[in-house]
């Protein structure tokens, strides 16, 4: 007979994760979303300025399922979600793992505001299902344009970007104050930080993009999705040039994705870190508190 040792902490994490995954799937089932599965190894990971993929036998592990999920939307799906592992090279800290669990969902017809409404319902449903921080998540969230968040701390967004200090100011001066008493949505990112978002209708200098913060922790990034194949190609090529100039790997263009964009309906989508959602529900700043195998 093999001996078995009980570890109360890893058992507790397993139970919490299982309940959270169950709550998420129940939430999407109740809203008639379809659960999608997409390839884990990709020949053409999305070209992003600051996200690097881990090589895997001539391909790369997905950094996000975004391009494949949009192809499903272009093929006629209207509400889809996916929960599964994603991989990002070099991201390891008390809040990061190179391998982490991502939730993405897309709503068509929709935009960044329909996704925001769904997000508020979803985090409240998870808080209820796990019996965690109901008061915090029941509060009306704060909606704060990025430039106002900088101004609040005596900083100028455009000046910070021009000086190459955007991330430094954001991470060390601003983020620690976001979402302390209620969830906070940071909105109105500059168009230069749009990636796969469309420009905000009527405000071409802005991206239709927001991020959700709880306890100073970034949980999710959402877009009103870009459906223009010409602009998307131009952005990918600009990113490819930036990566080439920096001596970083330049992934091939995903021509199947670009071809499908012409059929992509107006939609909104989101990438939501599930380990971080559990951190927020438990009120911890350590990702190791929510992983069954934190040392991996």
């Amino acid at each position: 007979m093999t001996s078995r040792r009980s570890n109360p902490e890893s058992l507790r994490v397993l139970q919490l994760r299982s309940r959270l995954l169950g709550a998420l799937r129940a939430f999407f089932a109740s809203r008639e979303f379809l659960e999608a599965e997409t390839p884990l190894r990709l020949a053409t990971p999305a070209l992003e300025d600051h996200i690097d993929a881990i090589p895997a036998a001539g391909r790369w592990l997905r950094t996000s399922p975004e391009l494949h999920l949009k192809r499903l939307l272009a093929a006629g799906a209207s509400r889809i979600y996916q929960i599964g592992p994603c991989f990002r090279l070099g991201e390891r800290s008390e809040r990061h793992r190179e391998e982490f669990t991502m939730l993405e969902w897309y709503e068509a017809p929709g935009d960044s505001l329909t996704v925001m409404a769904t997000t508020i319902d979803l985090i409240r449903a998870c808080s209820q299902a796990l019996g965690k921080r109901r008061d915090y998540f029941a509060r009306d969230p704060e909606i704060l344009p990025l430039a106002d968040a900088f101004r609040r701390h005596g900083l100028d967004l455009d000046a910070a970007i021009a000086a190459g200090r955007f991330e430094e100011e954001l991470c060390f001066r601003i983020e620690p104050h976001l979402g302390l008493s209620r969830p906070c949505f940071i909105t109105d990112y500059p168009a230069s930080m749009a990636a796969l978002a469309r420009r905000k209708p009527g405000f071409p200098h802005l991206a239709e993009r927001w991020e959700l913060y709880v306890d100073g922790l970034e949980l999710a990034n959402a877009y009103g999705e870009l459906t223009d194949p010409v602009e998307q190609r131009a952005r990918f090529l600009a990113t490819a040039e930036l990566r080439r100039a920096a001596g970083r790997v330049v992934y091939p263009l995903d021509e199947d994705f670009l071809a499908s964009l012409a059929n992509l309906p107006p939609c909104g989508g989101i990438a939501f870190g599930i380990d971080r959602l559990l951190m927020a529900l438990l009120g911890t700043q350590e990702i190791s508190d929510v992983l069954s195998f934190p040392e991996e």
């Binding site: 990061h96 954001l170 970034e218």
Partner: protein, 196 residues
């Protein structure tokens, strides 16, 4: 010169910035999902001992610092020079009084010391933590004054001034912490111990 990228930074790493050696004493990685990674470090200047905060971002590159540690034994003094013998090579390494700063006051024959070398030059000397010395100059204690924390000045053979409790007298032996140069406690005269 070996170089490395910002992604290899970690606590305890030693690197060269503007030609000088530094040690990373604290390290923090931050990265917005879509943004550039930033690395906030607390950095110690290995020559001056000063620390400061520094933020680097992805794409930054560094040179490794050519640092070497040697275990040596103190040998002899000759004017303003102090000679040490490298335990590995048996070679003599000579440091000046100025290079040793206050530490020359705490050298005993054959004491095992650690030398830190940067590009072949000694930048730091670590002595044995405890140095035992005779008080060669010390005013007599004042009888009856037993108040705590009252001290008086005293001097070792080399002229190092320390504050000692009132009950100590000239000819007494003391233990000194070589990291601070301060009095620790009274000890027995090691010569007496040897006689027994």
């Amino acid at each position: 010169m070996a170089t490395f990228g910002v992604e290899d930074l970690k606590k305890g790493l030693r690197l060269k910035i503007d030609g000088k050696p530094y040690l990373i004493t604290e390290f923090e990685f931050k990265k917005p999902g879509k943004g550039q990674a930033v690395y906030r470090c607390r950095v110690k200047d290995l020559i001056t001992g000063n620390t400061f905060e520094k933020v680097w971002r992805s794409g930054d590159n560094f040179e490794t610092a050519d640092l070497e540690s040697l275990t040596v034994n103190y040998s002899y003094e000759n004017g303003d020079d102090f000679a040490f013998i490298d335990q590995n090579s048996s070679e003599e390494i000579v440091l000046t009084r100025k290079q040793l700063e206050d530490k020359w006051h705490f050298l005993t024959d054959d004491a095992e010391c650690e030398l830190l070398l940067f590009e072949g030059k000694v930048i730091d000397v670590t002595l044995p933590t405890w140095f035992y010395a005779e008080l060669t100059t010390c005013e007599p204690g004042v009888r009856g004054d037993t108040a705590n924390n009252v001290t008086k000045p005293a001097f070792t053979k080399t002229g190092w001034e320390i504050r000692v409790p009132l009950f100590l007298n000239q000819g007494d032996w003391v233990k000194i912490d070589t990291r601070t140069g301060e009095y620790v406690e009274r000890v027995a005269n090691p010569n007496d111990i040897k006689k027994k």
